[in-house]
Structures are given as C-alpha cells and as structure tokens.
C-alpha cells in the first residue's frame, strides 16, 4: 500500500500528518516513511531522527567536455547549457538537466554528476527514507523518483510518501503510483485555493483521495472534508519537539480514523 500525503500549499501540516501516521502504523505494520520534499526535507526533525545514514547517491549524466577537443555538436540543447561558438564548445554545468540530447549523433561523451543523496534511518518496524538535493541544484525531479524507488525496495506493508508543496512536476512524480492520496488543507482562502489545484491533479491521475482539514476551527469557511484535525496547542508543542501527538487520546483518534481508511478503504 502506497499512500501519498500532499496539500498544495506549504505549511498546511502534511509532514505532521505523515509523521503521526508513521508512528501509528509502525505499532502494527512494517512501514516506510518517505520524504520526497527533496529540496527541504523535514521529516527527520518531525520524527526526532537526526541520526540518518547515507543510503545512496543520485546521479545524472552530463557532457564531458574537454578543452581543445573538437566536437561535431549541433545546437540542440534547450536548457542553454551547451553552446557552440565558432569551433569552441561552452558548457554551463549549472543549467544542464542531463537529458543527453547533445550526445545524439555527436561525439560528446558523458560523465556522472551527483545531484542529491538518499538517507535512511531504521526503526524497529520500519524505515524513514529521505531524499535531499545538493545545494544549488535546479532540477531535482530524478531525486524524487529515485527516493521512492529505493524506499519501495524495502518491501514494507505501508509506504507513506510525503510530497513537496505545490502542484509542480516534482509533486506529480511523488504522487504517481500511489494507491491512495491524502490531501491536507486548512480552512483559509489559500488552503482552499491550493487544495483545488492539487485535487485536479489527483483526479487526472485517477487515484482515490480523501481530504484532511487541518487546523479545524480557525475559521468558519465552508470546506468539504473527510477527516479533520483540530487547531490545538498540544499539536504545536509536539511539532516543535519533533514528537508524535499520539499520546493524547482524542488526537490519536483523528489519526486512527485516517489510518483505517488507508488500510480498509
């Protein structure tokens, strides 16, 4: 079972929900918690696990341009990373996406470049798997794909995928292959507008979803939802400490309801 947690807007409580679901599930199921917010992964802090170990490095292939060598390259690079000026080839590594178009029908060869790393922490009954992009890296989509692939190779019964904020291609990559999606939103005009955007994607991908209304009670805006989590000081406190809030029975009940939907549908 792969369940993705997403929300459109940042800061609606996606990671908080993911972390609490994880702690709930590892009581009974082998569970993987997968942080696909590769630019700013926060699950290590929300699960009190800063002692991660390196699992894998993620590479792309970029042209290996040698000074003085002549290349029969035609200007095909759409990223503007490779330019032919006279018989000189200028390569701007930062702009290269590793698409390898420049290598087709040319004598350009490629070398590996690291764009990010995958970290993990083993729990008694599961794993936290975290993808993290290298600094200044613009194109981070492949890290999302590889992080998920690595996590799924652990063969856990439940896999919780925490996506980045927004509705861009990295979020879509994290959502693809999910069996179910939880859309976390809040009763603000922003939360609602962003949730609408993400719902469109999830519907397009044809994945069953439910809406979790977080910070329930901060306004009387009418929002359709399936589950709710109250705006509560105890949640803010646990969040700050990197702890789960399952020790509070009423809050545990909120998580339990969502977990039941994930398992039983």
């Amino acid at each position: 079972m792969i369940v993705a947690v997403t929300g459109g807007k940042g800061g609606t409580g996606k990671s908080t929900l993911s972390a609490n679901l994880f702690f709930y599930f590892i009581e009974n199921y082998k569970t993987a918690l997968i942080d696909c917010d590769v630019e700013t992964p926060n699950l290590p802090y929300l699960t009190g696990s800063e002692d991660l170990s390196l699992a894998k490095e993620v590479f792309i292939e970029i042209p290996n341009i040698e000074e003085g060598k002549t290349y029969n390259y035609k200007n095909v690079c759409k990223e503007g990373a490779l330019l032919k000026v006279g018989d000189k080839l200028i390569f701007i590594e930062d702009l290269c996406s590793g698409c390898k178009a420049c290598g087709i029908n040319s004598n350009i060869t490629f070398r590996k470049k690291s764009i990010g790393k995958i970290y993990e922490k083993k729990f008694d009954n599961g794993y936290l798997i975290v993808g993290k992009s290298n600094l200044g890296e613009r194109k981070t989509a492949k890290i999302v794909t590889e992080t998920k692939k690595y996590a799924l190779s652990k063969n856990c019964e439940i896999n919780i995928v925490d996506t980045a904020a927004g509705t861009h291609c990295n979020v879509v990559r994290a959502l693809i292959n999910a069996d179910k999606v939880l859309i976390v939103t809040e009763p603000t005009p922003f939360g609602m507008s962003d949730a609408k955007r993400i719902i469109k994607i999830v519907e397009k991908l044809n994945i069953p979803y439910k809406i979790v209304l977080n910070r329930y009670g901060i306004s009387d805006l009418k929002v359709g939802y399936n589950f709710k989590i109250p705006y509560d000081r105890r949640i803010v406190e646990c969040y700050c400490k990197g702890e789960s809030f399952l020790k509070y029975n009423d809050l545990r009940g909120c998580i339990e309801e969502i977990a039941n939907w994930i398992i039983w549908g």
């Binding site: 409580g13 700013t40 996406s97 698409c99 087709i104 509705t167 603000t188």
Partner: protein
C-alpha cells in the same frame, strides 16, 4: 530596489509578512508587488483584486509520438525522465528536452505547443503581478522571469517579491537579481534547517539577506545565524489570515512588530 521575501519551507508566515510589508511600503513609496510562488499564488487572494487581467500565456514545447512509430524502442532508452511508456509520452513527466525527437529515425516524434503557465495583473491600491503554473507543469523558473519582465514597466521604487518555497529552480530565478532577501524563519528545527539551506543558496548566488524570526516564543531554540528582527508568536494569527485580515491592520503585538520591521527596512533603501 528589489526585495524578496522567502522562507525555504512554506507555512512559516512568509506571505502574511510580505502582504503586510507591501501595504506598508505602498503608503510611502511607489511599489509593485510580484507573487513568484507560481505554484500556489496566494497574494491576490489576500486582497480584493480589481480588474484581474491576463498579461501573457507561457508556452512550453512538449513532444508526442505519431503513427509513424515502428516501436523500435530507442526513444524509451534515451528519455532520462521516464516520460515514455508504451510508446506514449506522458505530458506530465516530459521535460521537453527533445532527445527523443533527435534519436527517432522514423520522424515519429513531433513537437506540440503546450500552455504551461499564465501571468496576471491586478490592482490592490498598487499593482500586483502574479504567475500561475498550469497544474502538474514544470518550468516555474521561466514564468518567474516573465513576471519580473512585466514588473519593470512600472519603474517602481520598490519591487516586493513574494517568493516560492524550496531552494530549487523557482527560488533561484526569484532571488538571483534581488537587492535584498528577507528570510523568514520560525523557532523549529526544521525551519532553521531550511533557512540554513536557503542562506547557503543565497551565498552561492551572492545575494544579500536578512533573517526575520516569526513566531518568537513558540519554542525555545538557538539560531545559528543573526536575527535581524523578531515577530512574536500569537496563537490567533491563523484566524486573522483565515479571515483575510492583513497582520499590519490587526490590533495585535504582531502588527506592531511588523511595523517596526518596516521602519528598520526603510533604512536599507
């Protein structure tokens, strides 16, 4: 002067601070506000935007496989983005690099023009320009560059930019030519960590920055960087935002602290 308000991770109060600052600046300066969070543009929702106008549609080149395909499989192997499956190109995953078109010997792959985003303009007492990425699209960097181009026509004293989350392509497009970045941080480990990543990125691109602490007192923490200004934690702030009340217009300590921040920022202009 171009000022960007950014935060690494969302939800720390970036937009609630930037909307208030825009309003405060607009009382004393000519200003244009830019919402570069093209994935979730929220600035316009906080205000009653008058006469929303579509300024530009942004296109992107995608590819599709036509009936000439003999299923040789070469394009599947070359695509570095896993966008081709069953001899069909998934428009959501296609980066438009064109490698498949180059490798196909049967002219079976052709470019198609695809709407990837929109740029809007509206007036909220001052002009606001914002972008909206078509859902599931990539290419936010390009949209941001176009937002900035449109903003130039106002020749405003202040260009106030609400930035995108993350430290990837859209953030880099947002900050690379600004004069000052305000990094908003809250007293949690994750936010501090995001802010550190943000600062490293800003240093990488040589951008000047100030760190503003939001929600001071929510949690005890030591910051590994200098805090330029602090805004106190107020449990009721989300309620104000939910009701579209600008923080600077509210009757609270938060409002006072934002006005102080504004006064301190004026010294940089």
């Amino acid at each position: 002067m171009k000022i960007a308000v950014i935060s690494g991770k969302g939800g720390v109060g970036k937009s609630s601070i930037s909307t208030s600052l825009a309003k405060l600046f607009s009382k004393e300066f000519s200003i244009v506000a830019l919402d570069c969070d093209v994935d979730a543009p929220n600035f316009n929702l906080m205000f009653d935007v008058k006469d929303k106008k579509l300024l530009e549609v942004i296109y992107r080149e995608l590819y599709k496989i036509n009936e000439n395909c003999v299923k040789c499989g070469k394009c599947l192997d070359i695509c570095q983005f896993d966008a081709i499956e069953d001899f069909k190109i998934n428009p959501i995953l296609c980066e438009g690099c064109g490698a498949c078109e180059l490798i196909c010997e049967f002219n079976a792959i052709e470019p198609v023009k695809h709407e990837s985003g929109y740029i809007y303009e509206g007036f909220i007492g001052f002009p606001l320009i914002w972008g909206e990425l078509e859902i599931g699209e990539s290419g936010s960097g390009k949209i941001i560059e176009h937002i900035k181009r449109h903003a130039k026509k106002y020749k405003a004293e202040i260009e106030l930019i609400d930035g995108p989350p993350g430290v990837g392509c859209p953030l880099i497009s947002t900050v690379k030519d600004v004069d000052l970045a305000l990094c908003i941080v809250e007293p949690t480990k994750s936010s501090v960590n995001d802010c550190l990543r943000l600062i490293e990125t800003l240093n990488f691109f040589d951008v000047e920055y100030l760190v503003v602490e939001n929600k001071k007192g929510m949690n005890a923490i030591n910051y590994p960087f200098k805090i330029f200004h602090s805004i106190p934690f107020d449990f009721d702030v989300p309620k104000l935002i939910a009701n579209k009340i600008l923080l600077c217009d509210s009757n609270s300590r938060v409002s006072e602290a934002i006005k102080e921040l504004y006064e301190k920022l004026k010294e940089f202009i």
